[in-house]
Structure formats: structure tokens, C-alpha cells
């Protein structure tokens, strides 16, 4: 048992903290929420230079060969700073899917470009009537000669509007889990992308496929056998999202605790009131428990061990704990925290978005129930 970061992880954390403090100011974050693309090439380029884009990929494809736990540490810092842009879509959603499903040629070609910061990826899986189950995937890929024809609509696809490649989960058979993954050029004819307007100003898109032609070679993995890969990616993404929330919790806690030490009401610092003290104690309890459950799940993934139970425990817990933590921060900050001007609202918006992403607490508790034999 060891609850400390190793030296490498400490370095990742510290360098990310230093870089983002500079490069990812609140002004920048707010600008990117308004910005249609949601990131700048400069910022993206600098992250790529730091090696972040290739962090979890093997060295053969230009990656850093680091573990998912290392990636989670980086995501924690990104969450602390509300980092905008398609990093999560590219590295976690698209990248890890390609790494698991792709053949050598696909991995080498796609991931080396990702690692170099030259290719943006995303993953399209959700549709109107489904959550995260193979049955929810109805968009059809019809095999036609040496091609596949895609028709249907994907929803809530993050950063599709700036992606070069969309990894698409499509139905290639009638059995519930006959799902396949495809590498799809985001600029291919028939791909129609509409940006949705969301609570957090993150960039979720509707992506309509109108008889989009996909070369047979763009199939990622075995035809009809993609569900386990997709399921794995989404579980990893859930843990990655929990890592972001971990960082967000730290920041919200700092806002609240800082305020208790400066705000005076009834001639006393509000931090001297027991109600405020208990709010803050509860926040720290949410933060610490969330952090450990996240780290445990990330460690299991990193070690190549089965991680389904830990990942769902993590996402179920952190989804709610983080929201409650941010709500307590709002309660401590009072009117000041309700102002657009205060950064706490950025974390409030992201907290709810992250809570829902990749399955909310109810969803993952059901998965935990399955895992513990219910």
C-alpha cells in the first residue's frame, strides 16, 4: 500500500501546475467558452511540446509510454485549471480507443500524429434514445463492396467540430452487441456537424452521417466485436473525468477555505462559525475519498488489472461528491460566488457536466451492483 505519487508523477503534476498557472488563466478559460472552436493552436501546440498528447501511448508511436495513472495525474491538474479544448477527446476518448482497437498501421499512423499535436480525435457513441449500452447504438454501418456506408445521427460528440478524425461506434449487425468502430474523416462528404449550446460551454456536437463512405481499411478492430473495447474506453474516460473533478474539487476547496479566512460577518471571520467549519470538513472528506477512489481505479487500469468495479465505484462516488463539494463552496462563498465574475461558477458548470458524462452515479451504482454479484 502506498498513497504517495512517485517521482515521475510528482514531476508531471508540478510541471503541469506551473505551465497551466501561466497558460490557462481564468480569462483564457472564459474566452474559450465563448470561442466557437474552444481552444487556440498556440495553447494546443505548447501542450504537445510538453509531451502531453502522447503521454499514455507507447514510445514506438512517438508516445511517452506512461501509464493511465500518470495520465490521471495530468488530468487532475487540467481539472484544477478548467483546461479547455479537445485534449480529453483526443487522448482519452479517441486515442485510447485506437490504441486498444487499432492494428499496428492504424496505431502508428494515427497516434504518432496525435502525439505530435497534429491530429485531433474524438469518439462518437451516444444517440438520441440511448445512454451507454450497445443497444443504444443504432447508427448503421452497411457493408457495401469494400466500403461501409454510415447513416444516422450521433449526439453529444465532444469537439467533433474541430476534430480531424471521429472514431464512430456503429451497428454492423442485429445482435445487441454487434458494434464496430470506424475511423472517419471528420471532413468527409456527408458528415454534418452542429455545435450544441451547453451549460459548461464545452463543445458538444450533433454529428449527422448521410451515407458517408468509409473505406474498409478504416474499420478499427474486428467487425462486430467493438463493444468490449468501447466499454473499456468509456470506463477509462469515466475515471479520467473523475480525475478532472478531483482537480476541480481542490480548486473549489481553496476558494471556500480562502474566503473563510477573510470574510467577516457579525465581527468574526466566517471560518470561526461551526456551520462553516463543518461545511469545509465535509468538502475535504469528499475531496479525499474521491481522490483515493479515482487513484485506485486509475492504478488498476495502469497495472493491467480488471478495473470495472473500481472504475464504476469511482465514477459513482465522485459524480455526487464533487457536485456536493461545489455546492458547499457556493454556500460558503454566498453572494460573491453566485456572480459570473467569480470563477467558482466555472467549476459548478463543469461539475454537472462531468457528473453526467460517461454515466452518472445511478448508472455506475447499477454497474457496481452487477460487479458485486447482485
Amino acid at each position: 500500500m502506498n498513497y504517495d505519487l512517485n517521482e515521475e508523477q510528482k514531476m508531471i503534476k508540478e510541471s503541469a501546475h506551473r505551465f497551466l498557472a501561466e497558460a490557462c488563466s481564468s480569462d483564457f478559460v472564459r474566452e474559450m467558452i465563448e470561442d466557437e472552436k474552444g481552444f487556440t493552436p498556440e495553447f494546443w501546440g505548447k501542450m504537445a511540446e510538453l509531451g502531453w498528447m502522447g503521454l499514455p501511448f507507447p514510445e514506438e508511436v512517438g508516445g511517452a509510454g506512461m501509464t493511465f495513472l500518470d495520465l490521471a495525474i495530468l488530468l487532475t491538474e487540467m481539472g484544477y485549471y478548467c483546461v479547455p479544448g479537445p485534449f480529453f477527446s483526443t487522448v482519452v476518448l479517441g486515442g485510447l480507443t485506437v490504441l486498444e482497437a487499432g492494428n499496428d498501421e492504424q496505431k502508428s499512423r494515427i497516434l504518432s500524429e496525435v502525439a505530435a499535436g497534429k491530429r485531433i480525435l474524438t469518439l462518437a457513441w451516444l444517440e438520441e434514445g440511448g445512454t451507454w449500452s450497445p443497444e443504444g447504438i443504432r447508427l448503421r454501418a452497411e457493408s457495401r463492396d469494400d466500403q461501409f456506408l454510415l447513416s444516422g445521427t450521433k449526439l453529444f460528440v465532444p469537439d467533433a467540430h474541430v476534430a480531424d478524425t471521429i472514431v464512430v461506434a456503429a451497428r454492423t449487425g442485429d445482435a445487441p452487441d454487434e458494434i464496430s468502430l470506424f475511423e472517419v474523416d471528420a471532413n468527409a462528404p456527408g458528415v454534418d456537424i452542429t455545435l450544441l449550446d451547453t451549460l459548461a460551454g464545452d463543445k458538444l456536437c450533433e454529428v449527422v452521417f448521410n451515407n458517408v463512405k468509409i473505406p474498409g481499411a478504416n474499420l478499427l478492430g474486428k467487425e462486430g466485436g467493438a463493444w468490449p473495447v468501447l466499454n473499456n474506453t468509456l470506463l477509462k474516460a469515466a475515471v479520467g473525468k473523475a480525475a478532472e473533478m478531483d482537480g476541480g474539487s481542490q480548486k473549489a476547496l481553496e476558494f471556500a477555505v480562502g474566503y473563510t479566512k477573510e470574510r467577516v460577518q457579525f465581527d468574526k471571520l466566517i471560518g470561526t462559525y461551526q456551520a462553516i467549519q463543518h461545511h469545509c470538513a465535509n468538502m475535504l472528506m469528499y475531496a479525499d475519498t474521491g481522490h483515493f477512489l479515482m487513484a485506485h481505479a486509475a492504478w488498476k487500469i495502469a497495472e493491467g488489472l480488471p478495473f470495472e468495479e473500481e472504475a464504476s465505484m469511482c465514477k459513482a462516488w465522485v459524480s455526487e461528491a464533487h457536485r456536493k463539494l461545489v455546492a458547499l463552496a457556493h454556500q460558503v462563498l454566498g453572494g460573491v460566488g453566485f456572480m459570473e465574475e467569480h470563477d467558482l461558477q466555472l467549476y459548478f458548470r463543469r461539475a454537472k457536466t462531468a457528473e453526467v458524462a460517461f454515466g452518472d452515479a445511478t448508472f455506475h451504482r447499477e454497474r457496481v451492483a452487477q460487479a458485486v454479484g447482485l
Binding site: 451516444l126 434514445g129 440511448g130 445512454t131 449500452s133 443497444e135 443504444g136 449526439l155 453529444f156 452542429t194 450544441l196 449550446d197 451547453t198 451549460l199 459548461a200 458538444l204 450533433e206 467577516v264 460577518q265 457579525f266 465581527d267 462559525y273 456551520a275 462553516i276 457536485r323 455546492a327 457556493h330 454556500q331 454566498g334 453572494g335 460566488g337 453566485f338 456572480m339 459570473e340 465574475e341 467569480h342 461558477q345 459548478f348 458548470r349 454537472k352 457536466t353 453526467v356 452518472d360 445511478t362
Partner: protein, 388 residues
Amino acid sequence: MEFSFSPEEQKLLEEVRAFIKAETTDALLAESEELGHIYGGKEGRKFIKKFASHGWLTPNWPAEYGGLGTSATVAFAIREEMARAAVPLIFVAAHMAGPTIMHFGSQEMKDKWLLPIARGEVEFCLGYTEPQAGSDLAALRIRAVDKGDYFLLNGQKMFNTHAHVADYHWLGTITDPDAKKYRGMSLMIVDLKSPGIDIRPMVTMAGWQTNEVFYEDVKVPKENLVGELNAGFFYVMHALDYERMFPLAIYARLVDEVIEYARNTTVDGEPLARNPVVRQKLAQLKIEIAANRHLYYRLAHMLDHGQVPNYQASMQKLFATETVQHITNTAMEVLGMFGLLKKGSKWAVLAGNTERYYRTSVVETIYAGTSEIQRNIIALRGLELPRK
């Protein structure tokens, strides 16, 4: 005990309902949403004057001041109806300033202000909070200096919602800086168009505007002092027991909309409404709404029986606002990814209201006395727990 309205009350409420249905135009709703409240804009002022002409803005006021002399219960019920119709403003003039003037104002003040208030012709905004004085109203710093025929005001207010659309400021100001806390504050009515007043917007995370109000050498006529000099704190505290009433209905309506949504939406092949966990969550909200309604009408009952609501008002505010946050959060849970979509976005459901209400609800447990303050009041006043 009796948990229904009398036939006469029901008749009046039906008229109100019919009026609201007929007069709540899309233009009014759009304007109200833009401003964050019904009063202030062209449509809102038009609606309110017409509404008030029936006596419904101040139904429990005596006829001489423009009311109908009804029970407080009717007034509460009318406000519940308005909230349900998404025009849920608490009128500072009609519901806070007016009753205080009626209780403590001079005859001149009553004659001057009450009828126009009852007719919906003027609207006030609250001027209590300052940067250092939120929960702690005794920490006010704005000064009013007696200059013979007028007071001269200097200082700053903050979080004064409504100031940019209201006509008058219902202002708490220090008139005796040497007095002990709570004993040097006075209430006055200030024309917001007075020279020297600078109103600056503060934008909330819900999108709507509140304000900082800066006072620089603002002259206020002596006759605008409410009641006695230096008695302001007492008036404010007294009024709070009448003011705290949270009908919840716009959020209650959201629950009905989410229930309807659950009935009509299929997720993973199963109607949401058949999902036992969703059913539990939504049923719980209906129960909390029912509980809140009792806490709400208890206040009316007390007023109608000559009692002054005390901790009961704090309890209703506390319970209502925690229920509100429970409602908006649950609605977001039920809507899933669709809950994240803002009004106007492609694929938005329930007109995108859920996302907006979710953001707005953050302030509910903070403004008008935080939940912590309300719990203190319940313990100290309701249960007489020791202060020392």
C-alpha cells in the same frame, strides 16, 4: 383543521387564474425572462397595472389603501398562482415596503405611497446588502447625514437586485454612527433617479443582473424617512417575518414537466417513467413540494389568526430553497445529457429551462438569509436554544 380554500376564495382564485392565463403573453414571458423578473419592462408594467386594478396585488390590504380586505391566505394563494405561471416576482413595493409603511409609516406617508403601490404604479427595490454586510445587516456603512431639510447620503450598496428597473430604493442607512449596533440604522425611500446615484450591473451566473448602487452626495427629503429615526433595524426584522414566503411554484411546475417528459421519453428501450429509480426520485420531489406547501400556508394561517410568523417563516424559506435545489438537481439527473443543453440549443428539451433553473437555484439558499442563518433562527427563536 381545514386543508381547502373556502368557496369564495376558490372563486376569486379562479378569476385570477383565468386572468393570468389570458394575459401571460409570450412577449411578457420573454421580457420577464430577459430581465429575470416580471416587473420593470414595458410588458411587465402593463400586466401588473391591469392585474393590480382588480386588487390582486395587495388583496389583503384594506380597501382604503387599494386592497380587497381578504385573508392573508388569499394573498398567499395568488402569489402561488403567479409563480406557477412563471411570473413569480415578489414585489418589493407591494409585499415588503407597503406593509411596513402601513405598520409604521406616518399618515402622510401612507396617503402618499400605499395607493400607487397597490395599483402597481411604482416598484421599489431592496437596499439592504453592502459589500461587508450580507447576513450581518448590522455591519452597514452607508451614511445619511441630517442636513436640516434633507439627508445627505454617501456609500455603496451591493447585490441590490432590481435596482436598474425599479423606481425607488427601500434603503437601509446609518443615521447614527455612534449608536450601538442595530440602533443607528434608518429606513428611507429614495428616488432611484436622484442625482448622485450610480447603478452598476453585476451579472450573476444565472445570467440575470443584480446591481451595485453607489451613492455620492445624494439628497433625500426628510419626509422619505420611514417611521422613526434609527428604528430601521427593528422595522426590517419585523418585516422579515412577513416577507419570507416562497411559493415554489415555478419549480413545482418544472417537476410536473419532468414527469411529463419521463412519460414520453424512452431511454435504452424503456420509458423513463417505468424506471423505478426515476420514479422514486420524482415522487420524493412531489412529497417535498407538498410539505413545503404546508409550511407556506401555515404562515398565511398565522397571519389570518393574528399571529406573527417567526421561526416558521425561516423554516419555510429554508425548506423551500433546499427543495428547489433538490428539484433542479433531480431534473438534471432525469434529463441526463439533454439537461446540459441551454435554451435555444438544438435538441434542447423542456425549452432548455432546466439548465437555466439549475444555475439560478444556486442562490436560493443564500439570498434573503442563508440556510445557516435560518437554522440559527429556528434553533434560537423556535426552540429557544441558549445564546450564551
